[in-house]
Symmetry: C3
Subunit: 303 residues, 3 copies
């Protein structure tokens, strides 16, 4: 692997190799001294052109636990404005002998565009509505952690699938890894022709939950979408939100995932988000290990 731009391109074996490496990295994160010299002398550029705290911090911690030098670049305080300047900027960072470029951008395709201009690996940390591959990998890892494997597990992704890079990356990753993926949400939030991706659309949350191993709730972009794609937050919560009662439709050993940040009382009730069988904080913990694995495989592997 030379890039991680999406989960659509890598083979099942490549995805599994990342998950296996994540296992080893998680062990490092749980040591008393959570640091190994693996990427000492490597330079990781975290270029977050869309505001972000969680994902940026997760990548920064991952780089530092591997002893890499992590350099943050944000849109504010920079001279970036146009796409052309952006690729020049990336070429410059690469010319400073950076070893890997982590990029988040509001616009789909920016990481792939930069990858075409650069000789160093590029990791997509979220690009518009396109993909967010490390999120899907940490989700897959969390599922494997809960059940021992992914093959045959029923994963229901519920919410605004059409506008979610998290959903898109998960659909590619989880179907490839052998899960049975269902999707559910208001019709305005389900992509037309989604069956072609090997997932099963459901017309109600109850249908999606029935017998599911994994319930993955998506974040609703409330500010942006209320009125446009659904009538009201209250209506959304009652029709598509996850309550403790509804969760009983899933398997008794089902787990709940959410990419965060959670809209409590909207797509998920607090009582579900904060207690068993929620794996939301495990996802965050696993996120650091997943990013350590990806940084290691893309930059440290060849030595």
């Amino acid at each position: 692997m030379k890039q991680l731009l999406d989960t659509e391109t890598p083979s099942r074996e490549e995805l599994e190799r990342i998950l296996d490496t994540t296992e080893a990295m998680l062990e490092i994160s749980q040591r008393d001294i959570k640091k190994v010299p693996t990427l000492r002398g490597r330079t990781v550029i975290n270029m977050f052109l869309e505001p972000s705290t969680r994902t940026r911090v997760s990548f920064e911690i991952a780089a530092k636990r591997l002893s890499a030098d992590a350099i943050n670049v944000t849109a504010s305080g920079s001279s970036l404005s146009k796409a052309e300047t952006l690729s020049d900027m990336a070429r410059n960072l690469s010319a400073m002998q950076a070893d890997v470029l982590v990029v988040r951008d509001r616009n789909a395709g920016v990481p792939a565009m930069l990858a075409r201009h650069l000789s160093i690996p590029v990791i997509n940390a979220g690009d518009g509505n396109h993909e967010h591959p490390t999120q899907a990998l940490l989700d897959a890892f969390t599922i494997r952690q809960a059940f021992g494997n992914i093959e045959g597990r029923v994963v229901s992704i519920i919410g605004d699938v059409a506008h979610s890079r998290v959903a898109r990356s998960n659909i590619h990753a989880l179907t490839k890894l052998g899960a049975e993926v269902r999707i559910a949400g208001p019709p305005t939030m389900i992509p037309v022709g989604v069956e072609q991706f090997g997932v099963k659309p459901c017309t109600s949350i109850d249908e999606a939950l029935d017998g599911a191993h994994v319930v993955m709730m998506l974040r609703i972009q409330m500010e942006r979408l209320e009125g446009a794609l659904f009538p009201s937050v209250r209506e959304y919560a009652s029709t598509w939100g996850l309550s403790r009662e509804r969760l009983r439709l899933a398997r008794p050993d089902a787990v709940v995932l959410h990419p965060g940040p959670v809209n409590r009382g909207v797509e998920i009730q607090s009582e579900v988000a904060d207690a068993e069988p929620s794996r939301i904080l495990d996802q965050v913990t696993n996120g650091v290990a997943t990013r350590m694995a990806v940084l290691y495989l893309l930059t440290g592997d060849s030595q």
Copy 2:
């Protein structure tokens, strides 16, 4: 100690233990190679939601001199907006196996609220008008450095005591450490019933200075307060400002402190701020050592 949310809660022994540890840390800061491996592999999150340079840099340098990984989180470029999201964010950072959370916020009580949600130590780096405990500790350390001890020293805190988290933390710390604390300022800036904290209110700066070992001038929030709490800057400077002449009322070996940044010519004349017996830059130097001590005691001590 599991937290440093204020100076009101810790016992005298706990405060003295921090001061003693600061002594050792100061020695490290004066070596040619100002770095020890004590907190290697530890992750320190500096979450400064109120703009700050000095205190953030002081904590960041402190963490790095102990070989910890320091991660900065600011309000700009983050998705933080509401208190609820804030505690979710903190829980996320904690789930990334951070070892300590340093927090500054405009709102009093935010560090305590986060501490209730987290299993990792929280350090208050200033919360609204409430407390700024590391500032009081560095002030206490600077006094001990100047006089050998704190017990029985007369410390006059002059200015806007009512709206100052620095004053509040110092009152708790210094009275507990045995100092005789006086306060003085315009009546609008002195909290009602302040005597109950064991301090002596003075009605003029001259009364406060008379025989004082330590003159601690507070910063006036000029932009916010002119007209509201005092008639004019000129009036304030002449009634409550510290000039070289006025300083003669204090003991011959008195020292001058100020938490910075200084409003020159307002609460203090430049000639006083920049020369003997000002300890303002010593306070800054001691601030790094104090924060090293607190980080060490809260995160490194148990190993």
Copy 3:
């Protein structure tokens, strides 16, 4: 050397010592593990009060490759506003036992002002229209790399010389190092009396290019200057821009430099910027090595 505020002050020997040290630093940057313990325990403050990404990242990478602790300070999120506060801030950072202060500011003279207040070395990372000495040093290094020496090389600096701190620093450095420096640009962009600096003004780009070893194109501040100093971008590009055709006027072994970011199609055509004999990305690579050299010579040398 105790400061690097400009290239006007240092002697030829001092400049050459930096270039020689850069050679060694470049070698480190090309190792598999690009890190040496030289400045371990040293604290480098990068105080970029004017928005910047490239130069800040270059200094940050340089510091980290030498194992120094790098602390970033920007204008946003800080309490800085007035020049007086600025020098207080710098004195504070110095009191935290920082070892060197790197400063960029919109205003000419700020680094020199701070240097007068501080006992630690100050490096000017660009101040208004005044100087940008590390840029000139990396340019000189790139020229030496291309030709083996600088003495006698013909360097043509083309564009808005009057408003360019890059041009000013290069004129001082390159004339001192023995180059023959020509300048060319619209009359509104050429300083009156520029001959006194030992450079030769040319009245056309063709005259400047004729027989040149080095063609250094300057960035046009389009937003700021269109209409004020030149009639139109199109007009500027055709009269003063560098095309492949025009470049043939220079020597067959000529190289092209640009400080970046490039305005493609304005001062330089993409086909010239992106291919031989452009050295633009080498400049970026050499920039890190140059900054490592300067940091080392100013802070590590005495040990």
